[in-house]
């Protein structure tokens, strides 16, 4: 059976479509939404619908302070990144708090979780606190933190720490608990010291759990960046978003939000890359 050449052409086009269906449909939808959005702000839809609806078509034109528009946001982003450069200072300020808070969470949460997994009694002692703290929205402690350390860098570090430390500690705890007990028994019967046991068995088998915890902590810490700057921080992305929101500079708010989205995506991607790399040596079960 032979297909005619035009049929072959269409089927090639269809094949091409199916091969990239995901990218094509996704891009189309995003474009559609962006155009609809732009049109709302510029009044395209109001103009188009006026003959049909008369004056009530004005409802389809929204004020820029209300929704902004993709082009306004792009212009604002260009201005903030490359003309005034104001956003770099906010980025640096937020990153400082974020890195210190997350670092503190790793330095405290991971050893603490590992110890809790290893020493049964320690685990009994701290389990209720961890469970209760994990069920609480930790930002409820923000007013307390402000009372304790004021509204400076310390407050932001503490809230990021508090948000990020639980997934790290809980995952480290679970990691030790799920270590293959046969391996530990074998090493024990060959007289391995606790330290050696820890270094050669528990730590390597914990790494995937720790990285999964880190992935969660990275996301949680982002909440801390924004929430920690609610209370009049001098600079920072969260503070910038809040101030812009209070002044109805909607385009700047969007730029800030999108910057945080980008940072979040990049950080999670980095952790995932590391996760994949670390998993290479592991023999598939």
């Amino acid at each position: 059976m032979r297909a005619s050449s035009s049929q072959a052409q269409t089927s090639a086009a269809v094949r091409l479509y199916f091969a990239h269906e995901r990218a094509i449909l996704g891009t189309l939808m995003v474009l559609l939404v962006l155009i609809a959005w732009e049109g709302l702000e510029r009044g395209w839809w109001a103009d188009a619908l006026r003959p049909l609806l008369g004056d009530s078509a004005e409802r389809f034109k929204l004020k820029p302070i209300f929704i902004s528009s993709p082009t306004l946001i792009a212009a604002a982003a260009f201005r903030m990144f490359f003309v005034t450069g104001e956003i770099w200072r906010d980025l640096a300020w937020s990153s400082a708090g974020y890195v210190l808070g997350l670092g503190l969470a790793i330095v405290i949460g991971v050893p603490f979780g590992l110890a809790g997994g290893w020493y049964r009694r320690l685990s009994y002692a701290v389990e209720p606190f961890l469970a209760a703290l994990n069920a609480t929205p930790q930002v409820a402690f923000l007013p307390l933190i402000v009372i304790w350390v004021g509204t400076g860098l310390g407050q932001r570090i503490l809230i990021i720490f508090l948000l990020a430390v639980l997934p790290l500690a809980i995952n480290a705890h679970a990691a030790v608990r799920t270590t293959d007990p046969r391996l530990i028994k074998v090493a024990g019967s060959f007289g391995a010291s606790d330290w050696r046991l820890f270094r050669t068995i528990i730590l390597p088998s914990s790494i995937p759990f720790l990285l999964a915890g880190l992935r969660l902590a990275v996301g949680r810490g982002m909440i801390g960046v924004v929430v920690g700057e609610i209370y009049g921080s001098a600079a920072g992305l969260g503070a910038m978003i809040n101030q812009a929101g209070a002044r109805f500079q909607t385009d700047k708010v969007f730029v800030g939000v999108l910057t945080i989205v980008a940072a979040g995506v990049i950080l999670v991607e980095i952790v995932q890359r590391v996760e994949r790399r670390v998993d290479i040596w592991r023999t598939p079960a």
Binding site: E21, R22, L25, G26, M29, V30, V33, I65, F66, R121, Y124, A125, V126, E127, P128, F129, A132, L133, A135, T136, P137, V139, A140, F141, L142, P143, L144, V146, I147, W148, G219, M222, I223, V226, V227, I230, G238, I241, N242, A244, G245, A246, F248, T250, V253, F254, G256, V257, I260, V261, G264, V265, V268
Partner: protein
């Protein structure tokens, strides 16, 4: 031959001690947990009472209890509680009502997933509380802005989990059902849906935490009433005990929600045969 009295006595003591040890070991977990909790409360109280640390900073268990008692006689407090509960329930219920059907649909239809995937991924990458300034511009500082942020917080994890639940349905079951020419509806209702329930619950539990976070942050950020408003005000006026009461109430809300969802999940999973 009779056993000398003093030996018998010591054996008796030994047995009693062994029984005590056994009793302790059986309940070691509870004993240690309770003991630690008690110790923490005592140290906290002692620190507050001794004047080593200003009670303004750390309050103390008795002060917190007193504040809770006083608050429970305050009508404004109950209004705050009611406002927060309304925000949580409406936003969370809305999120479940949207996310579960949408998640099922997205899991079943590849095309639908391609269409809305980019938006879900973007929203998932950003802590939704970041959107608060926008949401407040759009919905004001009243109850609706919190309902929206609660909704946004909870909808994404439920949606993503439901979708991946559908995706991981047992392919063998579906093949078997197909070869017995089961209808699509039948396959959906008797294979895909039951298989997805645990995933939905995982998402719902995660979403509940996100929803509570939305209530707190929304109310801390800008509000006229609610528990978050209460603790923000108390924090500003250094009423540390009231802040603790508020934080504990949020803790209780989190624990209760998760416990309720666990109970519900067990009910839903009762039909499933136990492994082995």
């Amino acid at each position: 031959m009779a056993i000398p009295a003093h030996l018998e006595l010591s054996a008796h003591r030994e047995r009693r001690r062994a029984r005590l040890v056994r009793l302790y070991l059986e309940h070691e977990r509870v004993a240690i947990a309770g003991g630690t909790l008690l110790a923490v409360l005592l140290v906290w109280e002692a620190l507050g009472a001794s004047g080593l640390v200003d009670p303004l900073f750390i309050s103390s268990p008795t002060r917190v209890a007193r504040a809770a008692w006083l608050l429970s006689h305050d009508r404004d407090f109950w209004t705050d509680l009611q406002v927060s509960a309304t925000e949580f329930m409406l936003g969370y219920a809305g999120a479940l009502a949207v996310a579960i059907p949408l998640g099922l649909a997205v899991g079943l239809s590849k095309r639908l997933q391609y269409l809305i995937g980019p938006f879900v991924d973007t929203l998932n990458a950003v802590p939704r509380v970041t959107l608060l300034p926008l949401i407040i511009i759009w919905f004001g500082i009243g109850i609706w802005s919190k309902i929206v942020v609660v909704f946004l917080g909870a909808v994404i994890p439920v949606l993503i989990n439901t979708q991946s639940g559908v995706k991981t349905s047992e392919a063998r079951f579906i093949r078997v059902a197909r070869s017995f020419s089961a209808s699509k509806l039948k396959i959906f209702s008797s294979i895909i849906l039951p298989g997805t329930v645990p995933f939905i619950f995982t998402g719902a539990k995660y979403g509940a935490g996100r929803a509570l976070l939305g209530v707190v942050v929304g109310e801390l950020y800008a509000s006229t009433a609610g528990l978050g408003h209460l603790i923000a005000e108390a924090g500003n006026t250094f009423q540390t005990d009231i802040v603790f009461v508020g934080a504990l109430l949020f803790m209780a809300a989190g624990l209760i929600t998760v416990a309720l969802l666990d109970a519900l999940e067990r009910r839903f999973e009762r039909w499933r045969p136990q492994p082995r």
